[in-house]
């Protein structure tokens, strides 16, 4: 663990990413305590610019809602959607990839054609279609993002399992009479974990970008305050109140950047061989 940690910390970007992400997490956790009032409630006159009034450091939006409160509450939505949709995508992609890689042959062919199909269709357009047809509640948003983001997981896991399948320790497990399911769960998958963790951290970042884009188009949950919604709502007043679009966008950029940096740090820390080769 300490070796992992020291390798992770050697990557300066990863440490910066971790600091930024920690701040975002603190904001998300603290939101209901610091801003107990709903982020939708009007608190002042509309279009109050930032730094003009005590207690409203980032001003108000077109309907007089507190921008800072929206930002804090938006962090909750972004992190929640990013995290849960990644978990769901892993829950779809890992079994498909593991089965395809472990059994090979027809199973592999069928599952990989299925994966390829989902990889070919334009993912953002599919997410739009899914949310336009089903109601855009938070759970459907999460599901739609998961549905368009699992294929890379399946492909990665398949590749890892393929290369692990014929190793001695798997053969030993087979000879000792363990069931296929147990071999996959206890022998193969734990060894395929490092690259999956790296991919997952990058997927959280992509999911946050996707969620914000969908909310921007009006396909987010209308009951939760999100960064994408804030930008979408401020779009029509871009000329007069540009900061209303600028501030939430910066929040998305920093959060996604921090996750990407952490992903690279994890890659360095978990795949030391790879690091030596490319550095």
């Amino acid at each position: 663990m300490s070796a992992f940690w020291s390798r992770f910390c050697q990557n300066r970007g990863a440490v910066i990413g971790l600091i930024i992400l920690t701040i975002v997490i603190i904001c998300a956790v603290a939101a209901p305590f610091l801003f107990p009032r709903s982020p939708w409630s009007m608190v002042q006159r509309p279009f109050l610019p930032p730094f003009e009034m005590d207690g409203l450091p980032l001003g108000t939006d077109a309907l007089g809602r507190d921008v800072l409160s929206g930002l804090f509450h938006g962090a909750r939505v972004s992190l929640l959607v990013g995290l849960v949709s990644t978990v769901v995508a892993l829950a779809i992609g890992i079994p498909i990839g593991a089965l395809a890689g472990y059994y090979g042959g027809m199973v592999d062919d069928a599952l990989m054609r299925f994966t390829e199909f989902f990889q070919t269709i334009p993912s953002f357009a599919l997410a739009i279609v899914l949310l336009a047809i089903f109601q855009p509640t938070l759970s459907y948003v999460i599901l739609a993002i998961a549905i368009v983001s699992w294929p890379p997981v399946a492909r990665l896991v398949r590749g890892e399992v393929l290369s692990l399948r014929n190793r001695e320790f798997v053969e030993a497990a087979t000879l000792s009479g363990q069931s296929n399911l147990r071999i996959i769960l206890q022998q193969v998958l734990p060894n395929a974990l490092p690259p999956i963790i790296v991919l997952a951290s990058l997927m959280v970042a992509t999911a946050i970008l996707l969620e914000s884009s969908l909310s921007f188009l009006g396909l987010g949950d209308p009951n939760v305050m999100s960064w994408g919604y804030m930008i979408g709502a401020a779009r029509t007043v871009l000329r007069t109140a540009w900061w209303l679009s600028f501030i939430p966008g910066l929040a998305i950029l920093l959060t996604v950047l921090s996750l990407n940096l952490i992903g690279e740090g994890l890659n360095d820390a978990l795949n030391p061989r790879l690091r030596k080769r490319t550095s």
Partner: protein
């Protein structure tokens, strides 16, 4: 080579058919009676009208008959009717498709040219501040939401600086013709295409840099150096050529995302393409248009993939032997 192309074509056709089935299933999975949905779109909902709609669209037929009719129609490019716009969906898309093709193709070229050039520069100046600058920019571009960068670019270059138009496809009421019209469209194209390509520029930068560095370490590069070839020749003829192979693969995969991203860019810049058509259809719940655009964008992606596959087959003969 012909066999290779034929195999890819057959695969593309199968995927297209599968997308049609998916589309059909999605319409039927939508909550509520499709006739009621269509009637709602048309703004009328008495029982007689609903019954008419059911008969007219065969909604009273069994599921497999409906699917068959739907597929038959789609293959003849009949994508249904938009009640909101009172026009066949195929016609709507057909009108808007050229604008989207122009935008996505330009964004695609911009991202490849700038991405590869910057990636090569970063690889050749590895460890210097040039490399740091390019790598940092790539990281930032990669994390920037597309719609946000589009908004900020239109604010900066159009509203504040007034350098470029930030709205529409051509100057309204100017009625330019010939070269003037092309220049006018070109000017309107710069901001949407650059912002749409930005994310992909970042990907190509990183990919090209990593790929160049990896290939530089291979034995045949050492051999070329030992033969006494000039460094510029080695870089161009030996390193770059091989380093570009993964970039081509990536380009094929990215094509789909560019088409998806067009929805956001066209919405921000009021670019009259199929992406904006989709955005309008979302707010109007015009399902036929949404599914039609989805189908056509998937077809575009398949076409791009086919082109990259063939290109790859030409550039790297090994690939033809594997499948």
């Amino acid at each position: 080579m012909l066999g290779f192309i034929a195999a890819r074509l057959v695969k593309a056709v199968f995927i297209l058919l599968a997308i049609l089935v998916l589309n059909f299933v999605l319409i039927h999975a939508a909550p509520g009676d499709p006739a009621a949905v269509m009637a709602g779109e048309a703004g009328a909902a008495d029982e007689k009208f609903l019954q008419d709609l059911r008969e007219r669209f065969g909604l009273d037929q069994p599921f497999h008959v409906q699917l068959w009719n739907y597929m038959k129609g789609a293959i003849q490019l009949d994508l249904g009717f938009s009640y909101r716009q009172q026009m066949p969906v195929a016609e709507l898309i057909w009108d808007r498709l050229p604008a989207t093709l122009l935008l996505t193709a330009t964004a695609f070229v911009i991202s490849i040219v700038f991405g590869v050039a910057a990636g090569v520069l970063a690889a050749q100046t590895q460890g210097t501040w040039w490399d740091t600058l390019i790598s940092t920019l790539a990281l930032i571009f990669y994390a920037t939401p597309l719609f946000w960068v589009a908004l900020m670019a239109s604010l900066l270059f159009s509203v504040w600086l007034g350098w470029l138009p930030g709205f529409g496809y051509q100057t309204i009421g100017a009625n330019y013709t010939g070269i003037d019209r092309m220049l006018d469209i070109g000017k309107h194209l710069i901001l949407p295409a650059t912002t749409l390509g930005l994310f992909f520029t970042a990907i190509y930068m990183r990919m090209t840099r990593a790929s160049m560095l990896e290939v530089s370490r291979l034995d045949f590069v050492k051999t070329a150096r030992a033969k006494g070839l000039r460094n510029s020749v080695i870089q161009r003829r030996h390193v770059l050529r091989n380093a570009l192979l993964p970039v081509i693969t990536l380009a094929g995969l990215q094509a789909g995302q560019i088409v998806g991203g067009a929805v956001l860019t066209e919405t921000v810049f009021a670019w009259p393409g199929i992406g904006r058509l989709m955005f309008e259809a979302i707010s109007q719940r015009d399902y036929n248009v949404i599914l039609g655009v989805f189908f056509i964008s998937a077809a575009m992606v398949l076409l791009f993939n086919l082109i990259t596959d063939i290109l790859y087959g030409i550039v790297d003969p090994r690939i033809r032997l594997t499948k």
